[in-house]
């Protein structure tokens, strides 16, 4: 279908373009901006007056909870939520039940996602069988089935020899290994940042060294193996500084931060509000400021939602027993732009962190509005105010610290491959 999107403010972080311009689409791809290309006749025209026309977002961490945790969320609900958040491509971590450690599971997931005709789904394969950290997975087969990387989410594997071998093996075939820098023993039972807040509330703590020890280990292994590593969910100032130095050294590493970590700190836990139970935990003001600075200077390449739908039963528990994780797909864009506004960052610059940069990390083709690019597009009403609640969120889970709060900015319409999908 040939579509023209008219009168919108076109923001393309790749071209550094930000101006009012029309956008023309044919055959699922962008054919040009500005004047109507010769011979182009739109079958459908979308009036984007007052809206921003953006590349569809790419989210590097969206748990869809299938297979195994369908009581928390399903592909239907979460892919719908992704579109409601302007996300047209997402990576899902392998910590499902069973974990994504064999090609059949990955193919099934891809197949189910295709049938639903929503956001593009790029699974991450498990780095080790069952994520148990004992045996390397069939990375070649998993890659053929559609995996864009191999991850050991949440904690480092204890067996560093296995990790080194897995990285060597991944590097042999040019795969990226995705690791969350969190030591498996230090702060093992921790639920809150080690500091005055955890001490006062009597919550078991996760010290910052759980992150820095893991980062130092990972960097040593990168030096040894040459493997490209993507660091997931950085949480501390010390962590950001280590990554900055590793990048200056030229190590092939990239990093992401969860968008809520750019806004919230441990003090916000207040009186044990389990909506603030996340992994890694919210840390201090200083850590949050360093994360913001890290995103600004590019030390942290990507902002992700770290979307983790949790059901009511698992969240309505005392803080330490509550399941970590927040719903985030529908808040990624507004919260990213909130950060940009607060720190005086140009929207086009901020949008790099949720479009072209994550696409580069995952090695997928999307994230720009240049001629010839996939027509994955998001139309955004930057001033629209909405209340985060059960009736406004599409995700099956409503558990986020923003529940009940007003958020500015909402996605109006999404195109995936030039087709209008999930429209109201």
């Amino acid at each position: 279908m040939r579509v023209s999107i008219r009168n919108g403010r076109l923001i393309d972080p790749v071209a550094g373009r930000d101006r009012q311009e029309d956008l023309h689409i044919a055959g699922g791809r962008i054919v040009g901006a500005g004047a109507v290309p010769a011979g182009f006749e739109a079958e459908r025209t979308i009036d984007a007056t007052g809206l921003w026309v953006l590349p569809g977002l790419v989210d590097l961490a969206a748990r869809l909870r299938e297979p195994g945790h369908e009581y928390m969320a399903t592909l239907d609900t979460e892919l719908d939520a992704a579109l409601a958040g302007g996300i047209t491509a997402l990576c899902c971590p392998p910590d499902t039940d069973p974990p994504l450690d064999e090609p059949g599971l990955v193919e099934m997931l891809k197949h189910r996602a295709r049938l639903l005709d929503g956001a593009r789904v790029y699974p991450l394969g498990a780095l080790s069988v069952g994520l148990r950290g004992e045996v390397i997975t069939e990375m070649g087969e998993l890659s053929d089935a559609g995996c864009v990387g191999f991850a050991q989410p949440n904690r480092m594997v204890e067996d560093l020899q296995l990790l080194m071998r897995a990285m060597q093996y991944a590097h042999t075939f040019g795969h990226t290994v995705w690791l969350q820098p969190r030591d498996s023993s230090i702060g093992r039972d921790g639920v809150a940042h080690a500091g005055p807040v955890a001490s006062k509330l009597g919550l078991s703590a996760v010290p910052v060294i759980a992150e820095t020890i893991a980062l130092n280990t990972i960097f040593d292994l990168v030096r040894e193996t040459g493997c490209r590593v993507h660091l997931c969910r950085v949480s501390s100032a010390a962590g950001v500084e280590l990554i900055r130095r590793a990048k200056a050294e030229g190590l092939p590493v990239s990093a992401d931060v969860a968008v809520h970590h750019l806004h919230l700190v441990d003090r916000d836990i207040g009186h044990f509000d389990s909506h603030y139970r996340v992994d890694p935990p919210f840390r201090s003001h200083g850590d949050r400021d360093a994360l913001r600075a890290g995103v600004r200077d590019g030390t942290i390449d990507v902002i992700c939602s770290d979307h983790t739908p949790v059901d009511d039963d698992a969240k309505h528990l005392p803080f330490g027993e509550a399941e970590p994780g927040v719903t985030g797909l529908e808040l990624l864009l507004p919260l990213t732009l909130k950060w940009a506004k607060e720190d005086g960052i140009d929207p086009a610059d901020a949008l790099r962190r949720v479009t072209v940069e994550p696409a580069r990390v995952a090695g997928i083709e999307t994230g720009t509005l240049g001629a010839g690019a996939l027509a994955d597009i998001c139309l955004y009403a930057p001033e629209e105010r909405w209340l985060v609640g059960r009736d406004t969120l599409r995700s099956q889970s409503v558990h986020t610290p923003y529940l009940g709060l007003e958020v500015v900015g909402r996605v109006r319409q999404v195109l995936v491959g030039g087709r209008i999908v999930g429209a109201d």
Partner: protein
């Protein structure tokens, strides 16, 4: 943010933590308690302030002692008492925590006395009840994880005030496993609110929580140095499971370093009092000769504990007339 234990007019709706109480409120509770101390010595040990009210002792973690003191306090106020021991520690139980609460609240409970192994559990229960039942049900935190044990904190303050009077001139040391101790957190918070100028915690670095200075206490690792000239010594119980493992090598070594002996007690002010929340591990954190000495006020704490709990219950009950 308004503390969930307070009503809009600043009065107590629940008692969840010492944090959130003003100095005036603490003194008011202690003053009320002093009126109840005499009750225990009378022939008829009843003040029927809670007649017709139901108090549910809801213990998700075992504690015969604390439960009994709450039971006695409630009965002296003429309340009906229901004891429930619910031995669950995880979500694997059939019924969720809040379902349990809803069921019990439907049985017209007026007050829940809650002990739970998780820090913050009574907050969750209180907030849930505020939502579901408005002002109808009060929650008293009888100990939550490592977080708080406010009635113990208050009875400790009562004891200190009884023996020492003015808080604003005192040197107080809290000794032992501060990291895991809800009693220590409640005592430290209360002492700080009451204006104690010299507040110390004494223990090995493995048992002193990070950022203790932000709670208004100074950490000492050398017990002899920390006890020098103090007026009040609060010894903490060392849980059995901490004695062997990564935090401490052995009970023997702990006693040698941090056990309160006559010799170490001599470094404190000559009229220093020795407190302990019980149950004591004689020969681990405290020497028998000290525990049984005239300076020990451990049994007074127990006696005052009943009065303080009566005070809290009567104050919470008073708003429901």
């Amino acid at each position: 943010m308004q503390h969930p234990q307070l009503r809009p007019d600043g009065e107590l709706r629940h008692l969840l933590s010492i944090d959130g109480l003003s100095r005036e409120m603490i003194h008011r509770i202690l003053d009320t308690a002093s009126g109840f101390v005499g009750v225990s010595e009378r022939d008829v040990k009843k003040v029927p302030l809670l007649r017709g009210k139901s108090v549910f002792n809801l213990f998700f973690e075992n504690s015969t002692r604390t439960r009994t003191t709450f039971e006695i306090a409630a009965k002296r106020l003429a309340a009906d008492v229901v004891n429930l021991n619910i031995n669950t520690s995880s979500t694997s139980k059939g019924e969720s925590l809040l379902d349990t609460i809803d069921n019990l609240a439907a049985m017209d409970a007026d007050m829940f006395v809650v002990r739970h192994s998780q820090s913050g559990a009574p907050f969750m229960i209180a907030q849930h009840l505020n939502q579901m039942r408005g002002d109808a049900v009060s929650v008293i935190n009888a100990g939550d994880g490592r977080h708080a044990h406010p009635t113990q904190g208050l009875l400790d303050m009562y004891t200190i005030r009884h023996f020492k009077g003015d808080f604003t001139r005192l040197r107080v040391a809290v000794v032992g496993d501060v990291l895991h101790s809800r009693v220590a957190r409640s005592d430290i918070r209360a002492l700080s609110i009451l204006g104690v100028p010299d507040l110390r915690v004494i223990g090995p670095l493995t048992l002193v929580p990070e950022g203790i200075d932000s709670m208004g206490a100074r950490a000492y690792t050398d017990m002899r140095e920390g006890l020098r000239d103090v007026d009040v010594i609060i010894m903490l119980r060392l849980q059995n499971e901490r004695m062997r493992g990564a935090l401490l090598p052995s009970a023997q070594e702990y006693f040698k370093q941090y056990g309160l002996t006559r010799e170490k007690l001599a470094l404190a002010s000559p009229d220093a009092i020795v407190m302990h929340p019980g149950p004591m591990n004689r020969g681990v954190e405290i020497e028998s000769a000290v525990a049984d000495s005239p300076q020990a006020v451990i049994l007074d704490q127990v006696r005052f504990g009943i009065a303080v709990r009566m005070a809290v219950m009567s104050m919470l009950g008073a708003h429901r007339e």
